[in-house]
């Protein structure tokens, strides 16, 4: 079945079954490999994208559920103020190790600070506990989110 979906400001026509996960459309059909496959069951957060600004697991989001919603992926999140702020904080704090989960971490974190200029530890836990990092970068992720939120609030 043909679907017309809006990703990073561009529309794409894709012809797949309606129950196909957005993740595979992004990675395999459209070649946008920044969004990662981790579990296929919404358990690890590696595939996190934004659907109308809301952090969403692409591996359990079917293509027929998207409609006219705007999808943003890691490839374009740097064009948003919160995304750029998170990416800069990730670089400043040297968060990344293997990096495989970090697309998803950044997407979850960008959604968090876009709506919350000063997240508490508990709010960071709530927003980020769905994202697994096997390299164990959690300590630095927490610090980077706080730094990014501050810098965003200051308009840096």
């Amino acid at each position: 079945m043909a679907f017309n979906i809006k990703i990073n400001g561009k529309t794409h026509d894709v012809d797949v079954d309606g129950d196909t996960a957005l993740l595979w459309v992004l990675r395999d059909v459209l070649g946008m490999t920044g969004t990662k496959f981790g579990c296929g069951a919404g358990l690890c957060g590696a595939c996190t994208v934004h659907v109308d600004g809301v952090a969403t697991r692409a591996c359990i989001t079917t293509i027929d559920s998207i409609g006219a919603a705007a999808i943003t992926t890691i490839e374009q999140i740097g064009a948003t103020p919160s995304g750029a702020s998170i990416q800069n904080a990730w670089l400043d704090r040297e968060v990344v190790q293997c990096g495989y989960c970090q697309s998803g971490q950044i997407m979850s974190a960008a959604a968090l600070i876009a709506g919350n200029p000063s997240p508490t530890d508990a709010q960071i836990d709530d927003a980020m506990s769905g994202n697994i990092c096997r390299c164990g970068t959690y300590v630095r992720i927490r610090a980077a989110i706080k730094a990014a939120a501050q810098s965003l609030a200051k308009g840096d």
């Binding site: 079954d17 993740l23 990662k36 069951a41 358990l43 990096g99 970090q102 164990g136």
Partner: protein
């Protein structure tokens, strides 16, 4: 610094082109690491054999290539899987080559064990065992220095001055007296004709400008914007995607399948049937997975259909009843036990563990009549090439392997089972095919950290000091399969590391190991390897001895460290920084561990809280370490933070169990990982040292388990002798 450092590793920003990087011609270089650590710097690329771009270049060894346009390309002998090797190895070379890190570009080494074999792993081209910096520390600085000396010699000749009157900095040679300077690129062609220096003088630590300073990782920018290319991200033109199903019972065979139903799924192109696995080939993974469900494979379960991990554990328990090969003997432990004032006996059990790398296993292969091309992120690229050659029957030279960034290794990608599978599938597919393991496939067909059973007995004198230590354990020897030449007389150096080399003064010390391979279950290295088991057992047991002697765990250990000053120093530092003697609320306890492994000394203090229902929460970790010379301090800190989290996951949740021949865990719901809301504060204190560097990728993982278990004992009085820590056993009666 940005992704420009990695022209070949990181494609430009979306849309990402297919990764079809050609192999460079420069592979004929014959310099390399000699076993034992010396650098062979003997033969350079013959100019006549080089292509135009490289004809004006200078390639003094297998790691450095300076082009006529000034580009400095460094070839990375170890693969990046998060540990920071793509920054620390360039730091070693650049320090002596006198270039800045923003002047270098990096590429993955191709398969070539003569050039890139790891001298600390018997010449296997492998990234593992926390060996990269240890193996490279001298030879790669020498490689940089030799190249610099040849560039200086070329400049001196050009200027007709004495080489000793010239110096190098920031990628140029300068002759201060004459006010002259030439960039490396301008000297590259001449430098290629200079004699390789016989004597190489390395900088003293006081002269270091890079080593020892926290340095931004070169791989980070591409990893925060989605452009980094991991193995799973490659897209050679025309690539199809395959979902894989291997027999759920170890050793089973395909019995039947419904090919027509699978092919009826939109996007499914083909079904590949192997003896013990099937693959569904499709346009995208969604169709491949849906096709796999429709395929409804039935299996012949074979001889392991009744296999259970409880039976495997029972076999190990039985094995330690009988004498085993002696791994270590000092004094006479049995005799000393007879005069002990106090005797302590204990048995410990540790489970199978999966690696659960965030990037599931995957490999892309394209097999043609006379060639095979493989794209994969692997810790053993030469073994990947050899495996593909064996499956296809092609000579090594016809097999190209492109190595990629690794989305978590932890030992899993020291194995090539995934490469073999992909090539087997690709043999039946027209064009390239990317074989992706679902998370369930990844966890249920891992090669597991072995299960262990340990028995220990010790004797204390009247003052509580240990006068006898007996330890016998049984389990798999991964080395016996992976590096058979290192397995001798029933023993190997990895399986016993952390059991036979204790830091403490133990006058009568006896250790035996019995190799018992678990039937049907493949085993493999897992982050912190041998010590992942042995340090838990020995550091828990020494804690038991301290408790039996009614002494403080830190003071007890410290009194046994007269011959190990570096260990004693980190123990004292960790205790001091943790506030070891400060009071804690009820239900909270502190535990300590001390280890020397991977040539690094580490002490950890864990603070844990045990709730009334038995749930363990790790609140705070304080680490003190002495890893000798530090190359990149920020990476050392990051590796401790990460290794500790990895080890806490294992201590609290890690267990693979087998029932009816099948692994019972499948995804992150049944094989749990530590998450953000559970992550403790982690402090890292590094002791300054000019000793040679030790390994840093793994020590934190082996050291944290016993620190947490000992803290649980401090909080509850209950000793943890079986991993993972079971909340049920810690539950307080209502």
């Amino acid at each position: 610094m940005n992704e420009d450092h990695f022209p070949a590793l990181f494609a430009e920003t979306y849309p990402l082109p297919a990764d079809t990087r050609p192999m460079s011609r420069r592979r004929f270089l014959q310099a390399g690491l000699a076993v034992g650590g010396g650098l062979l710097l003997n033969v350079r690329l013959p100019i006549a054999a080089a292509d135009a771009e490289e004809s004006a270049g200078f390639a003094p060894d297998a790691y450095i290539r300076i082009a006529g346009n000034g580009e400095v390309m460094l070839t990375m002998p170890f693969v990046e899987m998060g540990q920071g090797t793509y920054t620390s190895i360039p730091m070693l070379i650049a320090e002596e080559l006198e270039v800045d890190l923003d002047q270098v570009r990096l590429e993955h080494a191709p398969p070539n064990e003569k050039l890139y074999g790891n001298p600390l792993l018997a010449g296997v081209q492998a990234t593992g065992g926390s060996t990269a910096i240890r193996a490279s520390w001298r030879p790669l600085r020498e490689a940089g220095a030799a190249a610099r000396m040849m560039l200086i010699a070329a400049a001196a000749k050009r200027w007709n001055v004495d080489a000793s009157s010239c110096r190098a900095e920031h990628g140029s040679v300068l002759h201060d007296a004459g006010g002259q300077s030439l960039k490396y690129g301008e000297l590259a062609a001449d430098a290629a004709h200079m004699a390789v220096p016989e004597k190489i003088a390395l900088k003293t630590p006081a002269e270091f400008r890079l080593i020892g300073r926290s340095t931004k990782r070169l791989d980070t920018p591409a990893k925060v914007n989605g452009t980094a290319i991991f193995g799973i991200d490659v897209r050679p033109p025309g690539v199809k995607i395959a979902a894989l199903a291997q027999s759920p019972v170890f050793g089973g065979r395909v019995k039947s399948l419904n090919e027509a139903a699978a092919k009826a799924v939109k996007g499914v192109r083909q079904v590949v049937r192997l003896e013990d696995a099937v693959a569904v080939i499709a346009d995208h993974m969604g169709a491949a997975k849906k096709g796999m469900e429709a395929l409804a494979v039935e299996w012949d379960e074979g001889s392991n259909a009744k296999l259970a991990s409880a039976d495997i554990a029972a076999a190990l328990e039985l094995a330690v009843q009988s004498p085993a090969p002696v791994a270590q003997n000092i004094g006479d432990a049995d005799h000393a036990l007879t005069s002990a004032a106090t005797k302590i006996d204990a048995a410990y059990v540790m489970p199978f563990l999966a690696h659960a790398t965030m990037e599931p296993m995957n490999c892309t292969a394209h097999v043609q009549a006379d060639s095979c091309e493989v794209w994969v992120g692997t810790q053993v690229v030469a073994r990947a090439q050899a495996a593909a050659a064996k499956v296809t029957g092609l000579p090594l030279g016809k097999v190209t392997v492109h190595n990629h960034l690794i989305g978590g290794g932890f030992g899993r990608r020291l194995e090539v089972d995934g490469v073999i599978r992909a090539v087997q599938v690709a043999q039946q597919v027209d064009g390239p095919v990317k074989v992706i393991w679902t998370r369930e496939e990844d966890i249920q067909h891992d090669m597991y950290r072995p299960i262990w059973f340990d028995r220990l007995s010790a004797g204390l004198d009247a003052e509580g000091r240990p006068i006898a230590w007996n330890h016998r354990f049984a389990g798999s020897s991964v080395i016996a399969r992976w590096l058979p030449q290192a397995y001798n007389n029933g023993l190997d150096p990895d399986t016993t590391e952390g059991a036979i080399d204790l830091l403490y003064d133990l006058p009568n010390f006896h250790v035996e190991y019995r190799r018992v391979e678990p039937q049907g279950v493949p085993t493999a290295f897992w982050r912190s390897v041998g010590p992942s088991h042995n340090v838990f057992v020995t550091e828990s047991f020494i804690d038991e001895l301290a408790a039996a002697a009614k002494q403080d765990p830190v003071a007890y250990r410290s009194a046994l460290l007269e011959k190990a000053p570096r260990a004693k120093a980190v123990l004292q530092l960790a205790a001091e920084k943790a506030g070891w003697n400060a009071p804690l609320p009820e239900g909270v306890g502190r535990g300590v561990s001390l280890q020397s492994a991977f040539a690094t000394y580490m002490a950890l203090v864990a603070e844990v809280e045990v709730s009334k229902d038995g749930a363990v929460r790790v609140r705070r970790i304080v680490c003190a370490l002495d890893c000798g010379t530090v190359v990149n301090p920020d990476t050392v800190e990051a590796q401790v933070q990460g290794a500790v989290i990895f080890g806490i996951t294992a201590a609290l949740y890690g267990e693979i169990t087998i029932k009816d021949g099948r692994v019972e865990q499948a995804n992150f719901d049944s094989y749990q990982m530590l998450r953000m809301n559970e992550a403790p504060e982690i402090e890292v204190h590094i002791v300054e040292s000019t000793e040679p560097p030790g390994g840093m990728g793994e020590p934190g993982t082996s050291a944290i388990g016993p620190a947490v278990a000992n803290a649980v004992f401090a909080a509850t009085g209950k000793r943890i002798r079986k991993m993972p820590i079971a909340a049920d056993a810690l539950k307080q009666p209502a």
